[in-house]
C-alpha cells in the first residue's frame, strides 16, 4: 500500500515535471472554447507564459495567471529553447499521449550532413536505383489512403499574407 502510494506520488511528480510550457509569440485572445468566435477569457501579451494542458486541432488548452482556456497554437512557442541533440518531448508526445515516455537520445556515430558533405558528395547509382525501387503507383497510393480512411477533399491554396 505504502509502495503504491509512493509510486503514485512519483507518477504525479513526473507528470508535473513533464508538463509543457509555452510563451506567447504575439498578442492573442484566450478563449473559453477552441473556436475563433468563442467567449473571450483574457487577452495575452507577447511573452506571457502558460502551461499547456492539451491540444485540439489548431488550438492549445492552456493555464496561466490570466486564467484557463484555449489559444491558437500558432500564437505560442512551445517548450524552452534549450533542447540539445535529443528529440523534443512535449507537445507532440502530449498530442499522442506519450507524455513522459522515452525521450529519444541521439546515438553515437552520427553521420552529419553539412554543406561540405553535400558539396563533396559523389553520385551513388546503387542507392539511387534502390530508392527508385520503392516508388508507389498512383493506384497503390489511393489504396493506402483508403486503408487509413483518408478521404481527399477540396481545399484552396492559401495566398501569401499581406
Amino acid at each position: 500500500m505504502r509502495r503504491t502510494k509512493m509510486i503514485l506520488a512519483l507518477l504525479v511528480a513526473m507528470a508535473a515535471w513533464s508538463a509543457e510550457t509555452g510563451t506567447l509569440l504575439k498578442i492573442d485572445t484566450l478563449r473559453a472554447e477552441p473556436y475563433g468566435d468563442a467567449k473571450t477569457v483574457a487577452t495575452f501579451a507577447v511573452g506571457d507564459k502558460v502551461d499547456i494542458l492539451k491540444k485540439s486541432g489548431g488550438w492549445l488548452q492552456v493555464k496561466g495567471t490570466k486564467g484557463k482556456g484555449w489559444v491558437r497554437m500558432l500564437s505560442v512557442r512551445t517548450g524552452a529553447a534549450s533542447k540539445k541533440g535529443s528529440a523534443a518531448s512535449g507537445l507532440l508526445d502530449l498530442a499522442s499521449g506519450r507524455t513522459g515516455t522515452g525521450k529519444v537520445v541521439a546515438t553515437t556515430g552520427i553521420r552529419g550532413l553539412s554543406e561540405e558533405d553535400l558539396k563533396a558528395a559523389k553520385f551513388n547509382e546503387t542507392e539511387l536505383k534502390l530508392a527508385e525501387s520503392y516508388a508507389t503507383s498512383a493506384v497503390d497510393a489511393r489504396k493506402f489512403a483508403a486503408q487509413g480512411k483518408l478521404a481527399a477533399r477540396k481545399v484552396d491554396y492559401l495566398p501569401a499574407p499581406q
Binding site: 550532413l113 539511387l128 487509413g148
Partner: protein
C-alpha cells in the same frame, strides 16, 4: 528561352522603331526582360519554367538525388521506405503535378533536414523522421518539399545562377552518372545546401499545409513540426544547415499563422498516429 529572347527582341525592335521618345533601346529591353522575369517567377500555378522540358527537369533532379545519396545512403529498412513512398505519393496526388515520377526516401543522417530535387525526388533525414509522431506530420513535411518541386524553386535557383543552359542541350539519358547534368548542378549535391529566398520557404509551408489537408490529414501537423524545430537552439549542430538555409521556426510559424487564420478551424483531419511507422 530562345523563343522568348526572339520574341523579346522583336518586341524591342518594334518599340524602338515606333518612336518611343525619351527611352533608349537599352531601357526598353531591360523593362521587357524584367516583365518577362516577373511573369516567370510569379506565384501563378501555370508559371512552370519554359525552356526546360519535364525530362530535363527529372534528369537534373535524378543527378542531385544520386549525389545526395552519395553523402547519406538510405536507411536500410524497406518497410520504412515503402511507407514513406505511400504517404508521399498520396500527398503529391493532391498537387497539380500528380503524374511526376515521385520518389521519397529516408536517408541515414542524424542531421535534421529534408531535401527536394527537381522532378520529384524528396528525402527526409533519419534525424527529422525521428522527431515525428504521426503520419499527418510526415505528410506535412513531405508536402512542404512537394511544394518546392511543383513550384520549381530549385530549378529556378539553378536558372538564376545561369547554371542551366536554356534551350534543350541537356542529355537526358536515364541511366548512370550524367556528366553534362552534373555540370549544370555544380559540385556534388551543393544545390541542396543552398538557400532559397524566404518567400519560397513560406510558400512551401503554405502548400504543405494545404496538400496535407487535401489528403485528409490534420492541417496543423506541419505547424506542430515547426514548433518542434523551434525547440532546438541555433548552435545545435544537427539543425545548423536547416537553420542556415531556412527562415527560423518562429518566423515560419508567424507567417503560417497569418496565412492560415481561421480557415482550418472547422476542417479537421486524421493524425494517424497508430499507423505511423516508428523507426527503431
Amino acid at each position: 528561352m530562345n523563343t522568348i529572347m526572339k520574341r523579346l527582341g522583336m518586341a524591342a525592335l518594334v518599340l524602338a522603331c515606333g518612336a518611343v521618345r525619351g527611352q533608349t533601346l537599352d531601357e526598353i529591353l531591360k523593362k521587357a526582360v524584367e516583365q518577362k522575369v516577373q511573369q516567370q517567377t510569379g506565384n501563378d500555378i501555370s508559371g512552370l519554367l519554359t525552356g526546360v522540358s519535364q525530362d530535363e527537369e527529372i534528369a537534373i533532379g535524378r543527378q542531385i538525388a544520386g549525389d545526395l545519396l552519395g553523402a547519406a545512403p538510405l536507411v536500410k529498412d524497406a518497410k520504412l521506405q515503402k511507407y514513406v513512398n505511400n504517404v508521399g505519393r498520396w500527398v503529391a496526388a493532391q498537387s497539380e503535378r500528380p503524374d511526376l515520377p515521385w520518389h521519397f526516401g529516408v536517408i541515414d543522417s542524424m542531421d535534421i533536414n529534408a531535401f527536394a530535387a527537381p522532378g520529384g525526388y524528396i528525402f527526409v533525414t533519419r534525424g527529422l523522421y525521428r522527431l515525428l509522431t504521426n503520419e499527418a506530420q510526415l505528410a506535412g513535411v513531405l508536402g512542404h518539399e512537394i511544394g518546392h518541386v511543383i513550384k520549381q524553386h530549385h530549378l529556378k535557383l539553378l536558372q538564376q545562377s545561369r547554371m542551366i543552359e536554356m534551350g534543350g542541350k541537356l542529355v537526358t539519358k536515364q541511366a548512370g552518372d550524367n556528366e553534362s547534368v552534373q555540370k549544370v548542378i555544380g559540385s556534388g549535391a551543393e544545390v541542396a545546401a543552398r538557400s532559397l529566398d524566404k518567400g519560397a520557404e513560406f510558400e512551401a509551408d503554405r502548400i504543405g499545409v494545404v496538400l496535407g489537408a487535401r489528403a485528409g490529414y490534420e492541417p496543423y501537423a506541419l505547424p506542430e513540426v515547426l514548433q518542434l524545430l523551434g525547440h532546438f537552439t541555433a548552435n545545435d549542430s544537427s539543425v545548423a544547415l536547416l537553420f542556415k538555409t531556412h527562415p527560423l521556426p518562429d518566423a515560419r510559424l508567424d507567417k503560417l499563422g497569418l496565412a492560415m487564420g481561421d480557415t482550418f478551424d472547422r476542417i479537421k483531419g486524421l493524425p494517424l498516429d497508430k499507423r505511423f511507422y516508428k523507426l527503431k
